[in-house]
């Protein structure tokens, strides 16, 4: 069961809906056949297997809608968050190490790097704001 659940969650939304549509068609045909041929086996199959497949189809659809909504919201969140800026991270690393660099009186290169990195870090903050 968990394997099926894992498989379902990791499907693409359109694939899940295709599965739901095919399952619904099978369930509908079973149910329609049961009212055309009112004999014990078709009626029992429609009421057990048909209903089961129909519920599975609807659950697949619900899962697809939930996954689509979640992926859409996740996409929006990732778009609004600042993109990783290599220059800024380098600058931060350099900033943290600048104290040590100043102590060792070789801070000229570090200050130059800091100056170069500051505008990039400001840009990222602006985006966040």
């Amino acid at each position: 069961m968990s394997r099926i659940g894992y498989w379902l969650v990791h499907q693409s939304v359109s694939h899940l809906i295709r599965v739901a549509c095919v399952a619904a068609l099978i369930a509908l045909s079973l149910m329609a056949y049961s009212v055309i041929s009112l004999k014990p086996l078709p009626v029992i199959f429609a009421m057990s297997v048909g209903h089961g497949i129909g519920i599975f189809a609807f659950l697949c659809y619900l899962l697809a809608v939930i996954l689509d909504t979640r992926r859409a919201s996740a996409g929006t969140t990732s778009a609004s968050s600042p993109p990783p800026n290599p220059a800024a991270s380098e600058a931060k690393a350099a900033k943290s190490s600048s104290g040590e660099a100043a102590k060792s009186s070789s801070g000229k290169a570090a200050k130059a790097t800091e100056r170069a990195a500051e505008p990039a870090a400001d840009e990222g903050d602006d985006e966040q704001a």
């Binding site: 068609l25 369930a27 149910m31 055309i36 014990p40 029992i44 009421m47 659809y61 809608v65």
Partner: protein
């Protein structure tokens, strides 16, 4: 056995709409926007639910019809006897009233009470199991007739759903009055040989012969047994007591001649 009713038509229409929505998505593959999602909600949720509900009601209703009971070949003789216009058996006479005649198997064999419907359907599932997995499917009709029997003694309450024991006509019968306690406690069956006779006398006669160890040859011997059992049952059965009120001669809506109404001489 096709069944045409407004509910059947509704089932098919709902299935058709839902199926076309699903097929449209599978063929066209439209983008999954809000409109498509809502359309799929109809095709995968609303219309299939309607189809399921209406097909279940239709199916459950169909299981109460005697054609449904007779669709298994082992019930062929019971069904043939019940639908025989010349038969005098209780089953045949109870299959004639227009009010419940087409559902006579269910009306007489369904458990009475609050959970009667559910219990009867559960019993029906056992019949299906016995038929497909219990060996009845492969039996010949002659073999099955000797073997088929009621799982528990027939409950008089089922008879008294219609033939109320509080009516003056019922109480005026001396045997009813003297046996009222036994009848109420099922110690004496309404459908016993000394009272109104067996509902399916041919099968009882065959079972009795099988129990005595006399093999019944299929064909003429079986037909003779059936005929004698029918005659015995009709001779034993008091007509006015065994028949529904509408079928008793002299009452409103009754046929003119006893032979046409299925009454015993």
């Amino acid at each position: 056995m096709a069944h045409s009713s407004p509910l059947t038509a509704l089932t098919l229409i709902c299935a058709l709409i839902a199926g076309s929505i699903c097929l449209h998505y599978l063929v066209r593959r439209p983008p999954l926007d809000l409109r498509t999602k809502l359309r799929l909600l109809l095709g995968l949720g609303v219309f299939p639910t309607l189809t399921a509900v209406t097909s279940t009601v239709t199916g459950m209703e169909a299981t109460t019809h005697k054609e449904f009971c007779g669709s298994c070949h082992v019930m062929g003789a019971h069904y043939a006897n019940a639908t025989d216009p010349n038969s005098q058996s209780l089953a045949a006479r109870h299959s004639r009233p227009p009010f419940f005649g087409d559902r006579s198997c269910y009306v007489c064999h369904a458990d009475y009470g609050m959970y009667g419907y559910a219990m009867t359907k559960a019993g029906g599932m056992r019949h299906v199991y016995e038929y497909y997995l219990g060996g009845y499917k492969d039996m010949t009709l002659e073999e099955a007739e000797k073997k088929i029997h009621l799982r528990k003694p027939y409950d008089n309450t089922n008879c008294r759903q219609c033939h109320t024991a509080t009516a003056t006509v019922w109480q005026s019968v001396p045997d009813h009055e003297s046996l009222s306690e036994e009848l109420a406690s099922n110690r004496v069956s309404c459908t016993s040989a000394g009272c109104h006779g067996y509902a399916h006398p041919f099968s009882k006669a065959l079972q009795e012969q099988a129990a005595e160890g006399h093999g019944v040859a299929p064909g003429t011997a079986s037909a003779e047994t059936r005929a004698s059992a029918e005659t015995r049952a009709s001779a034993e059965t008091p007509a006015s007591a065994a028949m529904p009120a509408s079928a008793v001669p002299g009452r409103p809506g009754a046929p003119s001649s006893p032979a046409a109404s299925g009454a015993a001489p």
